[in-house]
């Protein structure tokens, strides 16, 4: 493939990243941030999968078999523990505005300057080889793709990998050093990284599918064919000697790497916007690892089979296979996928390293030398930015040189593991630091330095020997012929592979010294304070400003000037306003700064220049007083009590609020019930007044007019009797209803025959039916099962339904059909009339008390207005149901069902 096409495509891809990042930053500026999405967060974590994964895993699988898997098993095992470890680290960093792993360690151990610098140097030493293998992978893939050696052998200016390094540097500078405050999130960068993670996954899986199903006939076919390869057996099994140790140490190594690699720390901790995003990442990230590994073995063995006779670097199989099959487009995409895997690592790692270097190496230098400090104090932010940018270029340059000098001689995985082992040296100090309050600065320093020396001696020295810069006798005979000091068999330890060997010794000394020296040494008060806050971060995180014990005198104007110098006029102004909003009433007339303000300012500075430099700056403007550890602990203890008291109070007031809420709703309910009762009462009295009015008026007339005609007199008396009946019926109904509603109504349950109930009810109304000339049909199934019921009550219901039907059926040609049958375990009874029907919207309301009486559009009934309400209550108290089906103009059908088996006599 044409060399310039590949170069062109590579730069187009880089341009795409620029575009994506700037788009994301614009969105975020417009308030529609992409990074507030947990999927972006989880994807950005997949920056873990670099060119090492993309190319190296296949290479490793082709030559070392299953062992490539170990470094994915580690992170997968670690993911569930994130909730315990990573969440705590995130919270600590948020609260203390920590931006790098060096700052984290230095901050925990009393904001110690030297410790931060040491960690930074180890990081730089450890990570530069890692960056260099990314450059190597890009250059190597380019060679394969173009079929030349141009990429790696020409002069510096013809060397494309050099330009690629420069291009990456530019991207990183533009999107990684926008603001001085390293706690500012790099949304553009994170979005680009997440995109790259997705891209490399898709392309790798596509290539895997192509190899597995395009070139071969699926997994089975590849494995079957591969089984005849001479080393197959060995690749697919553990070596008896060191196999298990190797697996164990690789898993441990990668568990630590996923937490402490500077780039992982950057995306997982610094760029985290929401702790809850961890929940998603905890399953999504392992899933990502799984998917990207599915096709590693097929591609590896496929490559072994296809290139059995030709010499092709196993690391490049994934690219070489599509190319040899003539799939140039796929090959180009695969190349870009690898390119994206490499670039994402380089970008994030250089940002992390540059912040570390500027905050932990350059700043202390600048601020520690009084001449420099006074000269540049005003321009500090500019210097900071430029120093970071220079660091980025420096890191890339070093990586390039390392690649040229050393990395070319080793495989991707070999170099990568050396980096892993370097950052693993931070594990005791960090893990101990967040769970063990007794860990001291001296212990951390001793452990890290010892671990680093052993790492250097057992891993880096041999690699220098390997490229011929040191005599080989160091490996074979030991330095100065001391066999006990042979880098691969230190103190005579044999039988481990070199990584396990290095990890064993470095960790052994690191952990022992960390614990041992910590127990023997004393903490300063500041250290103790940080230890308390780190270990108990979830208790202190809301009250950071008062959790740091500080005693001394500082003046507000000095603090302000400090902030202005490092944050700029505008941001300093905002910061002061925020502080006053959080702690109103802390303005001292004398101009003395409250300790809370000092802590607040120090925290802000830490976000810009790192915690130890911030400490130096603050102490330079304040007269601090020495505090004893006892005092620190005492004050912290008090503030802790305050916090728990606060929590208690908050809990109490929550309970109170809940209780109030309940009371209020209960009151509301009572009020409603009261209103219902009022309404019911006023309706009842109104209904009582009507017959009473008639009776009184008629009686008075009778009394005043003794000479009345006999006929009139009889008519009046008859009406009085009827109205009295109406009155007593009404009273009976009201009392009935009241008893049902309050649950006082007792039912005399006995087996009842429904036919009899219906027959008896019809008989009671026979005369009325005949008078009105209504056609009444009774159609009840023979041998209906008995229902357990109160017979008189059922008759009451039936009479009510039938008299309603009589009242409302067609006045000229009335027809009523009563049917009863057994269905679905119930006895069902229907009363159908041919009246004008009921509009469906009233079907519920007609069962309400006094519905007809209240609704004046319906003719006032002759009944009490309570019949249906009572009937429904009666049926329901028998565990049955009553309803109506009707349409306007088509008659009405009232139905009820009663269960044949009533388990227990029920009240309403």
């Amino acid at each position: 493939m044409n060399y310039w096409v590949v170069i062109g495509v590579s730069f187009c891809y880089l341009a795409l990243l620029f575009g994506l990042a700037s788009w994301a930053e614009k969105r975020s500026a417009a308030g529609r941030s992409l990074v507030s999405n947990p999927y972006i967060y989880a994807l950005s974590m997949a920056v873990y999968c670099t060119a090492w994964t993309y190319y190296g895993s296949v290479g490793r699988a082709a030559t070392g078999g299953l062992s490539y898997l170990a470094i994915y098993i580690g992170p997968t095992l670690m993911a569930p523990l994130w909730w315990v470890v990573l969440r705590k680290i995130i919270r600590i960093c948020k609260v203390q505005r920590i931006t790098t792993i060096a700052d984290f360690i230095s901050s925990r151990y009393g904001k110690n300057l030297l410790l931060g610098s040491v960690v930074t140097i180890i990081c730089v030493l450890g990570i530069i080889p890692y960056i260099s293998i990314q450059l190597k992978a890009i250059a190597g893939s380019m060679d394969i793709l173009t079929g030349t050696e141009v990429a790696s052998t020409g002069s510096l200016f013809a060397d494309s990998s050099f330009f690629i390094a420069i291009g990456l540097g530019l991207f990183t500078i533009v999107y990684g050093t926008r603001h001085v405050e390293a706690t500012e999130r790099h949304e553009g960068m994170v979005t680009a990284i997440a995109f790259e993670s997705l891209f490399k996954l898709v392309v790798f899986v596509a290539a895997g599918i192509f190899v597995t199903y395009g070139v071969f006939n699926g997994f089975g076919d590849i494995m079957h064919q591969a089984s005849r390869l001479p080393n197959f057996q060995q690749l697919m099994t553990f070596e008896a000697e060191s196999g298990y140790a190797q697996w164990f140490w690789m898993v441990v190594l990668s568990m630590l790497a996923i937490l402490f690699l500077p780039r992982q720390f950057q995306v997982a901790v610094v760029e985290n916007v929401n702790e809850q995003h961890l929940n998603k990442a905890m399953w999504l990230f392992p899933l990502y690892l799984f998917v990207i590994n599915v096709f590693v073995l097929p591609v590896a063995f496929g490559g072994n089979l296809l290139f059995e006779t030709t010499a092709v670097d196993a690391d490049m199989f994934v690219l070489a296979i599509p190319l040899s099959e003539g799939k140039n487009l796929l090959a180009l995409l695969v190349y870009l996928g690898g390119y994206s895997a490499a670039t994402s690592m380089v970008i994030v790692a250089t940002i992390a390293l540059s912040v570390m270097m500027s905050n932990n190496l350059i700043m202390p230098l600048l601020l520690g030398v009084p001449v420099l400090k006074n000269k540049y104090q005003e321009k500090i932010t500019t210097i900071l930015l430029y120093s970071r940018r220079l660091c980025i270029l420096l890191v890339l340059l070093l990586a390039y040189l390392y690649y040229k000098g050393v990395a070319e001689h080793y495989s991707l995985v070999e170099v990568g593991l050396v980096s892993f082992a370097a950052v693993a040296q931070f594990a005791p100090a960090i893990i101990g630091g967040i769970f063990w309050k007794e860990g001291t600065h001296s212990g951390a320093m001793a452990g890290i330095v010892a671990g680093a020396i052993l790492w250097f001696y057992t891993l880096v020295v041999p690699s220098i020997v390997g490229v011929g810069m040191l005599p080989a006798s160091i490996l074979t005979e030991g330095p100065w012929d001391i066999a006990l000091l042979k880098p691969f068999e230190l103190f005579g330890l044999q039988g481990l592979d070199y990584i396990s060997h290095a990890m064993f010794w470095s960790m052994f000394f690191n952990v022992s010294l960390y614990i041992g020296v910590s127990l023997l040494s004393r903490q300063t008060s500041q250290e103790r304070n940080q230890a308390e806050v780190f270990v108990d971060i979830f208790r202190y995180s809301t009250v950071f400003e008062s959790s740091i014990v500080w005693k001394g005198t500082a003046y507000i104007p000095d603090i302000k000037t400090l902030l202005v110098n490092f944050l700029g006029e505008r941001r300093a102004e905002i910061a002061m306003k925020n502080f006053h909003r959080k702690y109103p009433g802390l303005v001292d007339e004398t101009g003395k700064a409250d300790p809370k303000l000092v802590n607040y300012a120090e925290k802000l500075l830490a976000g810009v220049i790192g915690s130890s430099s911030a400490r130096i700056m603050v102490s330079s403007v304040a007269k601090e007083e020495e505090i004893s550890i006892d005092e620190v602990l005492h004050i912290l203890h008090e503030s802790q009590q305050l916090i728990s008291m606060n929590n208690e109070l908050r809990r109490k007031s929550m309970e109170l609020r809940k209780a109030t809420e309940q009371l209020r709703s209960a009151n509301e309910r009572l009020k409603q019930l009261d209103e219902l009762k009022d309404e019911f009462l006023s309706t009842v009295t109104h209904e009582l007044r009507t017959p009473l009015t008639s009776i009184r008026a008629l009686s008075e007339i009778l009394y005043d007019n003794p000479e009345m005609e006999q006929e009139d007199r009889e008519h009046f008396l008859h009406t009085i009797v009827k109205e009295s009946e109406r009155l007593s019926r009404l009273i009976t109904h009201v009392l009935d209803l009241e008893r049902f509603e309050s649950g006082k109504q007792k039912l005399n349950l006995a087996p009842v025959q429904m036919q009899e109930v219906i027959a008896e009810s019809v008989e009671a109304l026979e005369q009325l039916v005949q008078e009105k000339n209504i056609d009444l049909v009774v159609d009840v199934q023979q041998n209906l099962p008995l229902v357990q019921a109160d017979r008189d009550r059922l008759i009451q219901v039936m009479v009510n339904l039938i008299s309603n039907a009589i009242k409302f059926c067609n006045p000229v040609q009335g027809k009523i059909i009563i049917s009863g049958y057994f269905i679905d375990g119930d006895v069902k009874v229907n009363v159908v009339d041919n009246g004008k029907g009921i509009d469906p919207e009233f079907h519920k309301q007609i069962f309400d008390k006094f519905y007809q009486a209240r609704n004046q559009t319906i003719r006032k009934p002759e009944g009490s207005g309570l019949g249906l309400a009572i009937s429904k209550k009666i049926i329901e108290s028998h565990q049955g149901r009553m309803w109506v089906e009707s349409e306007s103009g088509k008659g009405a059908r009232f139905s009820f069902v009663l269960p044949v088996k009533v388990t227990a006599p029920a009240t309403v």
Partner: protein, 127 residues
């Protein structure tokens, strides 16, 4: 009313037959000319047709209620001097107040005294 004047025209409105019956009897016995309406619509028709001097009016009726009928009477030409007496089972203060607001001359709660009602009709018709 025994005077040689024309007979007083009284419209009695109620949807309860058992109440209309005594009212009709009382009016007749006192020598008034009685008209009867069983709901609001009939009442309005009767008002328009007969222009009664006194209207005894129930409030709660199907279709048009008593308040509405009273409003109609008050806007009707030739009904300026007509007296309206509400006779209602609604006894809440708000209901009574509303009755006077729509233009009633008197509001008598049910159940009522027949003598009181007749005295008032007489009083109002002579004033």
């Amino acid at each position: 009313m025994t005077k040689s004047k024309e007979k007083l025209k009284v419209l009695v409105v109620d949807d309860e037959p058992s109440i209309l019956m005594p009212l009709e009897f009382l009016m007749r016995k006192n020598g008034y000319q009685v008209f009867i309406a069983r709901n609001g619509t009939e009442a309005i028709d009767s008002v328009n047709k007969e222009l009664p001097n006194v209207v005894v009016l129930d409030i709660m009726m199907p279709d048009v209620d008593g308040y509405e009928v009273c409003r109609h009477i008050r806007t009707k030409d030739g009904m300026n001097d007509a007296k309206v007496i509400f006779l209602s089972a609604k006894t809440k203060e708000a209901d009574i107040k509303k009755g006077y607001e729509v233009g009633a001359d008197l509001y008598i709660p049910k159940p009522f005294s027949t003598r009181f009602l007749m005295d008032k009709i007489k009083e109002l018709s002579e004033s």
